[in-house]
Amino acid sequence: MAPVGPRSGDAIFSSIDRVNAELFTLTYGAIVRQLLTDLEDVDEVNKQLDQMGYNIGIRLIDEFLAKSGVSRCVDFKETAEMIAKVGFKMFLGVTASVSSWDADGTCCSIILEDNPLVDFVELPDTCQGLYYCNVLSGVIRGALEMVSMKTEVTWTRDALRGDDAYELQVKLLKQVAEEYPYKDDE
């Protein structure tokens, strides 16, 4: 029997149910647009997109673990590689790269050159300050929190703001020890 191990992101992506990315991209765009109209405040929109992403992340991690067959990562470096190579691939069909590690291995950058969220998107001048892809940082934060890692995820480069790529800085704040629900017995 072949050894059971983590499958590559490509293999998972080709085996799961997929949909036309236009629907995804345009729906996200329409949501951002509606939020800008309703909330009239770019910072508040950023906050809501992040919240939306967080809620998505805490659900997607289950699907990620179920479909990828990966086991526990030995350290945060492996976690970051897993997000970039398997996570992005199996959900969005693109791969990201990891770089700029700090000395103690708790902070790195995830760089996305191809980003399906921004196909057809151009930001008007009135949207200065908008982190259009803020849902993505929320997803990573939410997903990692479900596997006991508190993180802070911020945008350091954004092509919609004139940079040459999308870069997320992921900083591990603390590793939460797993706690069993002992309280029941108290």
Binding site: F13, I16, D17, R18, V19, N20, A21, E22, L23, F24, L26, T27, Y28, G29, A30, I31, R33, Q34, D38, Q48, Q51, M52, N55, I56, R59, L60, E63, M90, F91, L92, G93, P116, D119, V135
Partner: protein, 173 residues
């Protein structure tokens, strides 16, 4: 090749959109939440119809445009066609999808359904109301497509037995 993403990306995004509008922003005003969700769908339908009709001739009548939604448009978005189309030939069309993808994983909590048998509960059950929130989005999409094709209309949805879903289109005279 057409770009694709995992279906769960779209599913979770729609869930969160509905949760955001009907749970956080307008928890006590479902009709306002519904209007916003419909508006998002309208925008999406409007844009998708631009893309999917780019290389076709103009539709000769309403029925042709509706058929386009049933076949080509539905296949692009849901990977299947509408199962049944009925019309009274006076501007009302009923599009029935026997396994509507966005409702295929929705189940109604039996405990909440029991409550609805209670005759004192006024109007719709809470569960049915929650499901209907999800349907404002596809209703908006259909309205967006048709209005972009020059057919102003009103669209509503009917879910008498999940996951079958019927969309009722009433063309404005």
């Amino acid at each position: 090749m057409v770009r694709e993403v995992a279906e769960s990306c779209v599913d979770t995004m729609l869930m969160e959109m509905v949760a955001m509008y009907s749970g956080r922003f307008y928890a006590n005003k479902p009709e306002l939440a519904a209007r916003r969700i419909e508006a998002i769908g309208y925008q999406v339908g409007h844009q998708l119809s631009e893309r999917y009709t780019m290389e076709r001739p103009r539709f000769s009548d309403h029925l042709e445009a509706i058929k386009f939604i049933c076949k080509d448009f539905w296949s692009e978005v849901f990977k299947k066609q509408i199962d049944n189309l009925k019309t009274n030939h006076r501007g009302t069309f009923v599009l029935q999808d026997n396994k509507f993808r966005w409702l295929s994983r929705v189940s109604i909590d039996p405990s909440s359904e029991k409550e609805t048998e209670d005759p004192s509960t006024p109007g719709e059950s809470k569960a049915a109301q929650a499901v209907s929130m999800y349907l404002y989005f596809p209703c908006g999409i259909i309205r967006g497509v048709l209005s972009n094709l020059g057919i102003p209309c009103a669209v509503s949805a009917d879910i008498s037995s999940l996951p079958t879903c019927s969309f009722v289109i009433r063309v404005k005279a």
